[in-house]
Symmetry: C2
Subunit: 125 residues, 2 copies
DNA sequence: TACTTGTTCTAGATCATATAGAACAATGTG
DNA sequence: CACATTGTTCTATATGATCTAGAACAAGTA
């Protein structure tokens, strides 16, 4: 997995790291049991402070995406609710539904930011 | 339209105002030509500073959602790309696609935050 | 003209972000 | 066991975003 951060982006650095794990999960590039690079390793290669990386790790832990243990690192614990189903096929379904949502939203004349707002509202309840 | 803000929420106050306009648009509660309350009026009723409200107005203007003119206020300019089509029907289609996306994402075991990340990625390109 | 409304400017307080250093605890390895 | 690895916790500092506050201004409405 390739890690990158853009210090000039409006998104916080720790949020960029979290987002990359999300995307990797959706593509199947990261799966149950995979281990992320250590916080010190990531911080050095990305020229970040270790606390910034650790903040991303702790958010992922709170999300239930990774399990953190000292000496071992961050291991992916996100699992499909359907168990033995092919993860790649499910990821494709997600992306298909995502495209349809974006298409419907733009067809309705809603600005892109509104689509994000509506999704957050839907996830809140 | 009912306006509310939560000072304890992590979302910035101006972003909460922007989000409410987005939601109202998606429900058809706000449509082309509608006028928002004046910034001073909104600020007083919500116990906010006028600059906070004006910041939300300017974001909505940058999004192309409203048109701002001194003396007149903020008027909705968001329009459906299909023109004469029923706005309510389109809004329903958006919500149906949104639900399918959320369902597919949760079925794939993706955390809610990941769905937001993926949507932002999809809108970036 | 008088009033309304958004625009622009300065200013200050508070919180989030990011960095930095240090010591510590749990885990894995030889 | 001893040692290195790795996350955890603590204090501290600098910077920017957010929010409030006040004032003067410009363009539109009545």
């Amino acid at each position: 997995m390739i890690w990158t951060v853009d210090p000039t982006a409006p998104e916080p650095l720790y949020a960029q790291l979290v987002a990359q794990v999300h995307v990797a999960l959706s593509y199947g590039d990261l799966a149950d049991g995979d281990r992320l690079p250590s916080a010190r390793e990531l911080a050095q290669s990305l020229d970040l402070n270790i606390h910034t990386v650790l903040r991303a790790f702790q958010i992922l832990r709170d999300e239930g995406v990774v399990e953190l243990r000292r000496g071992r690192g961050a291991i992916i614990t996100a699992r499909s609710t359907t168990g033995t189903t092919n993860a790649t096929r499910e990821a494709d379904g997600v992306r298909q539904a995502l495209r349809q949502y974006v298409d419907a939203g733009t067809a309705a004349g809603l600005p892109p930011e509104a689509l994000i707002t509506l999704l957050k509202e839907a996830l809140r309840s």
